[in-house]
C-alpha cells in the first residue's frame, strides 16, 4: 500500500537546518553540504557570522557559570541545536557536579544527536518539542524527571527567539514559561539585531534573506523589542547589552567587531 496522503512526511535532510548551519559556523562537521552551502551564502554577506556565534557561546558559558554561582542547579536550554562543544551541561556540571540539564529542540536530527551525546549522562536529557508550544515542553516526562519547578531554574533562550515570527507569539511563549518558573529563576537570552553589526544593514539583509530562502526566517528585532522579552524579570547587571559587554572575563576591546552584533541579557524572576 502506498503511503496515504494524510500521513506525516518523513525527514528531509536535503533541506538546510539552522542547527547544522550553526554547527558549521562553529567549525564543526555535524553538517551536510546543503547546510554548508547555505552557511557560505550567508557568510558572503556577513563574513563575521562565526564570530557572532562564538560570542553567543562565550556569553552562554559566562551566564551559566554566573547562574551556578547564584546557586542554580537546574537548566532548561530551549533551542539547543547540535551541541558541538562547550555545552550547557559541560559548563554547568563542571561548575556544579550533579547539575541537571534539559535540552529542547524541534529539529529531530538535533534531538537524536543530543541523545547520542548525552547517553550515560543521567542528569541531562533532551526533549523534542517546539518553543511555540511551551505547554508541551513543560509537560514533557524528561522535564518532569529532571527539573523541580518549585526551585529556581535557569532558562536559556540563546539564539532562538529570532527564529520565532511575531505571528507565532514569541512574547506569549516566553511569558508562559516565566509563569511556570519558581521565584529566583533566571532567563538567559540572546537575540539577533541589526544594531551592532559592523556593516551596513543592506549587507546584513542579504544574510537574512538566506534564512528566508531556507524557510527559517531570521527575525531581526530592535533592542527595545528584545527588552520586552524580559517583562516580569528584574535585569541582572549590566542589563541588556552587546554580548562582549556582559560580565566579560577579558577586555572587550580584544573581541572581533562582529561579536558586538545583537544583544544579550540575564533577568531574574521576582
Amino acid at each position: 500500500m502506498e503511503r496515504p496522503a494524510w500521513a506525516p512526511r518523513s525527514i528531509d535532510i536535503s533541506v538546510p537546518s539552522v542547527s547544522r548551519i550553526y554547527d558549521y559556523y562553529l567549525g564543526g562537521s555535524h553538517n551536510f553540504e546543503v547546510d554548508r552551502e547555505a552557511a557560505r551564502k550567508a557568510m558572503e554577506f556577513l563574513p563575521g557570522l562565526p564570530k557572532i556565534m562564538q560570542a553567543n557561546r562565550a556569553f552562554m558559558r559566562r551566564a551559566v557559570r554566573f547562574a551556578a554561582g547564584e546557586g542554580i542547579t537546574q537548566f532548561l536550554d530551549i533551542g539547543s541545536g547540535i551541541p558541538t562543544f562547550g555545552n550547557v551541561h559541560e559548563v554547568a556540571q563542571a561548575a556544579v557536579p550533579g547539575a541537571r540539564v534539559v535540552y529542547v529542540d524541534h529539529d529531530p536530527v538535533a534531538v537524536t544527536h543530543s541523545q547520542a551525546v548525552l547517553a550515560g549522562n543521567d542528569d541531562a536529557d533532551v526533549v523534542a518539542a517546539d518553543l511555540r508550544k511551551p505547554h508541551e515542553i513543560l509537560a514533557s516526562p524528561q522535564l518532569e524527571r529532571l527539573i523541580d519547578l518549585n526551585r529556581p531554574v535557569a532558562l536559556l533562550l540563546v539564539a532562538i527567539l529570532h527564529f520565532v515570527e511575531d505571528a507565532d507569539d514569541p512574547y506569549g511563549a516566553v511569558a508562559e514559561l516565566r509563569k511556570a518558573l519558581a521565584p529566583g529563576s533566571l532567563l538567559i537570552l540572546t537575540h539577533a539585531s541589526y544594531e551592532g553589526i559592523p556593516l551596513p544593514a543592506e549587507r546584513a539583509e542579504g544574510a537574512v534573506d538566506v534564512y528566508k530562502d531556507i524557510r527559517n526566517p531570521l527575525i531581526m528585532r530592535s533592542r527595545d523589542e528584545i527588552a520586552r522579552f524580559f517583562e516580569g524579570y528584574d535585569m541582572v547587571e549590566p542589563g541588556l547589552v552587546q554580548m562582549p559587554h556582559w560580565r566579560p572575563d577579558s577586555e572587550p576591546e580584544d573581541e572581533d567587531p562582529f561579536a558586538f552584533s545583537g544583544f544579550a541579557g540575564v533577568g531574574r524572576t521576582a
Binding site: 500521513a7 567549525g27 555535524h30 562564538q54 562565550a58 562543544f85 541523545q115
Partner: protein, 714 residues
Amino acid sequence: MIAEPDGPEGRLRRLTTIWSRAVFPVTSTSLTRAEFEEQLRPLARRLSELLRARSFDAEAAKAVGAALVGAHCTDPEALTRTLDCVDAYLVLYCGADGPQDELRMRSSRLQHAMAAGYAQALRERTLAEQEAIAQAALRAQGVVAQALHASEARFRAVFEGAAIGVGIADLDGNVLQVNEALLRMFGLSEPSLRGRRVQDWVHPEDAPQTWRLYDELVHGEREHYHVEKAFNRPDGTVLWTNLTVSLLRDADGEPQYQLALMEDTTERRLLNLRLRYEATHDALTGLPNRTLFFERLEKALNAGEGQRFGLCYLDLDGFKTINDSLGHAAGDRLLVEVADRLQSCATAPGEMVARLGGDEFVALTTGPGSAREVDELAERIMGALVTPISIDGRDLLVRGSLGIVEGPSGERTAAEVLRSADITMYRAKSAGGNRSELADPEADARAITRHGLTTALPTALERGEFFIEYQPLVHLGDGSVRGAEALVRWLHPQHGVLGPDRFIPLAEHTGLIVPLGRWVLEESIRQARAWRERHGDQGAAGPLRINVNLSPCQLSHPGLVQDTVDILERAGVAPDALCLEVTESALIGADDDLLKPLRRLAEMGVDIALDDFGTGYSNLANLRRLPVSILKLDRSFTQGMQQFPADPVDLKIVEGIVTLAHSLDLAVTVEGVETGAQAEQLRVLGCDTAQGWYYARPGPPERLHDLALVDATG
C-alpha cells in the same frame, strides 16, 4: 613560582602568548583568550622539550598538532598561524645556545610532524562528526518512520477492521485499495477488484443523478455525495448499498483520490420489499389489498387525457350465512377460491383484482377502451361464480352483486369512484342480488343524499331543525275537533321541508329515533297543555287530545314508560290527553315483554292506537290480547270511497272491521278522508273519528286552534 622574565619559563610564556594571540581569532572556542593560552602552554612546553631532547623524536610532535584540533582549532588557518609562530619563535625562545643549524632543522621536522598530526586528527574528528550527524539523521528518520508506521498501522486497523466497505480510487476511477468488508460485500477477491474502474459499475437501477454526482466529484466541484446504489455480484445476485463518496485532497487542496464508504443494505431492502408486499397484499388470498388498489386506482385516475378506467365492485350474496353456518374456516376457503377465480378473470395488462376486506372484491381495468372491457370483465366475473364451489364435500352456490363504474380519468377522486361503485353494488343487492348494475349518477345522488341526511340527523336535532305540524282528528258524529296527530317535519338547510318518510327510517336505522321521538312527545304534550289552557275542558268530548307516533325502536326502548310519565307530569297533562300510535307491523308477533310497557301506559289512561290497520298481516285473533283502544284504518280502505258510487267491496270490508272493532270495544279512526261524500259514507258505516285533507292538511298549531274555535261556535 614566578618566572624570570628572561629565564626559560619566561621565554616559554612569551612564546605561548604570541602563539595564542596569533591563533585565537581563528578558533571557534568559547574560552577566553587567557583560558585558551592556558590550553596552549603545555603544548609549547612539549615542543620546547622535543626541540632540545638528547635523542630527537620528531614524530612525538604529531600529538601537539592533534591537540590543536582538540582545542577546537578546526580552521586550517589555525595550523598555518601555528606553524608560522613555531618557525619564527621556537628556536628563538627555546633553543638556548644549541647549534643553530641543528635546532632549525629540528624545528622544521617538528613542524612537519605537527602538520601531519593536525591533519590526521582533523580528519578523524571530521569523519567522526560526519558519522555522528549521519547516524543522528538516520535515527531521526527511524523515529519518524516508526511514528508513521504506527499511524499507518492504526489506520490500517481501522481500514481493515471497519464493518462498512471502504475503497479508494484515483480520480480516473482506478480502484487502488479496498478493505475486507468491501470484498465480502462484493463476494470478490482483492486481485479481481484491483485495477477495476469505478465506471464499470454502472447498473440499470442507478438513480439518474448518480453519475452526474460522480463527475462533479472527480472534477473537484463537489466534496461528497450520497446515493443508494446497486452493484452486480459475480454470482449474478445484486448488492444494494448506501454509498457515500468523498473527495480527498492533498495538502495543497488539489483533488487526489476518491474515498467510497458503503454499507450493505441488500437485506434491509429485501425486508422492505417484503414489508411493502405485506402492506399491500391480503394475507388470506394473496390478492392486492385496499392500499395497493387505491394506489393503482389513483394512478389510473391521474393517467391524463384520453385515458379511462373501469371498476367492478363485487360483494358476495349471503356470505354471512355461509360463515355463520359452516364456520369461518370454510368461509375463508370460499374466499380463497373466489379470489383465485377472480384473479383468472383479470389477466390483461392494466387489469387487477383486489380484496377490499370481508367478502368485498374489486376488479380494475385501465386504458382507453375500458368502456367495453369493463363489461366483459363483469361478465367474466359473474361467469366465474356460476360453477358451485366445493367446500368440505358440499357444493356451494356462490352469487354476487356487482356494481360497475366506468369513466374518463381526471374527473373524480378514487374515494368518489369507490363510493359510486359501492352504491351501485348495493342497488344490485337491493334488487335481489346475483346481478350487476351500472353506476347511475341519479341513483348515486339519491344514495348520497340519504347518506347525507343520516349523518346530518344528530346535529339537526341539536340545532332545532325539526318542527311539528298537527292534523286535526274530527268526530264524525258531530264534526267537532277532538284532537290532532302530531307529524314531525325537518326543515333541512339545503333540502327544505322534509316529511317523516324521508328521515324516520334513517333515524330508526341510526337509533336517533329515541331522542327524536322523545322530543316529539315533549313538544306535542307541551302543545296539548297550551290548548287546554286556552280552551279549558269545554265541550262534551272533553279536552283536545294529541296523537303521537311511536316507532318500533321506541317501543322496545326500556325508558319508554318512565320518559312518557315524566313528560306528562312535568307538563301537568293528564295521561288521557295522549294517544300513542303504534303500527300494526310493529306489534305482529309481539310477545308479552314487548307489550308490557304499552299495557302499563294503557292502564295509566294513555290511549294506544293501532296504526295502518289492515295493511299488514292482521292477526285478528291477536287483537284481543293487545292493549289498544283505537284502530286506525289505513288510507287504502278509504281510497275506494272517493269515487261515487263507492266500491261495494271496500264498503263491506270497512263495515266488517268497524263491527269487529266495536264488538271488541275499540274505536275506529279513518285516515285519508278527502271528500264530504267519503266522510258521510264513513259516518254511516259507524266510524268514530276521521282525519284527512277534507278537514285540514297538517299545519301549525294555531290552525288547529282556529278550527276548534270554528267548531265550538258553529
